[in-house]
């Protein structure tokens, strides 16, 4: 039983670490802020949540300690991360950061235009 859970924990951690790396790679390599934000807010968040789950399980199993603050942390990140990503993107857009020159579509621009017309 413990062996299995240990394996789960290890899995969680490995997945988390991998996702984090991926996210970092994305932030490093993607061409503009919007795509980078995409990588950061999705992949990294998932990675961390996975690691946290691993940690939670570890302490629950190994130490018999039900740590509510880790759970709360997971919930918290779950709530806030998307909002943060959204805010950054919007801020970037509103402060005039250009899209990647190979971007194909800018919906917000259209929306803003139509709003102006009204």
């Amino acid at each position: 039983m413990i062996g299995i859970i240990n394996i789960i924990i290890v899995l969680f951690i490995i997945i988390g670490a991998f996702l984090s790396l991926v996210a970092a790679f994305g932030v490093l390599k993607f061409p503009d802020v919007y795509t980078r934000n995409h990588a950061a807010s999705k992949s990294a968040t998932l990675g961390v949540m996975s690691i946290l789950l691993g940690t939670f399980l570890y302490f629950y199993v190994e130490k018999g300690h039900f740590d509510s603050s880790v759970l709360l942390g997971i919930v918290f990140i779950f709530i806030t991360s998307p909002v943060a990503g959204h805010l950054i993107s919007r801020a970037a857009y509103n402060s005039g950061v250009k899209l990647w020159d190979k971007s194909v579509q800018d919906d917000l621009k259209l929306a803003a235009k139509s709003k102006k017309k009204n």
Partner: protein, 94 residues
């Protein structure tokens, strides 16, 4: 076994943080930096969690939530600053 994995994970995340740091310093735009900083904050959480496992103590687990909170507030503040040039509005209706 867990320890080895945790060490490897820490290493991976450290590499990730270094990469993000590069982005922070390089930019080019400020939102880029903010994105990277936000990601660093999130990764720090992971590091703390992993370190707790490594040290076999639950004393640091509160830090996880704390970091989450700080990272969120920081990101909100940054984006607001970028968008509006001020961090606090005096009166939003005016």
């Amino acid at each position: 076994m867990i320890e080895t994995v945790v060490l490897i994970a820490i290493f991976a995340i450290s590499v990730a943080i270094l990469a993000l740091l590069y982005r922070v310093i390089k930019g080019p735009s400020i939102p880029d930096r903010v994105v990277a900083l936000d990601a660093i904050g999130i990764n720090l959480i992971a590091i703390v969690a992993l370190t707790s496992i490594l040290l076999k103590t639950d004393a640091f687990l509160v830090i996880i939530l704390l970091l989450g909170i700080l990272s969120f507030i920081g990101t909100v503040a940054f984006s607001k600053y970028l968008e509006k040039g001020v961090i606090f509005d005096h009166d939003r209706d005016n």
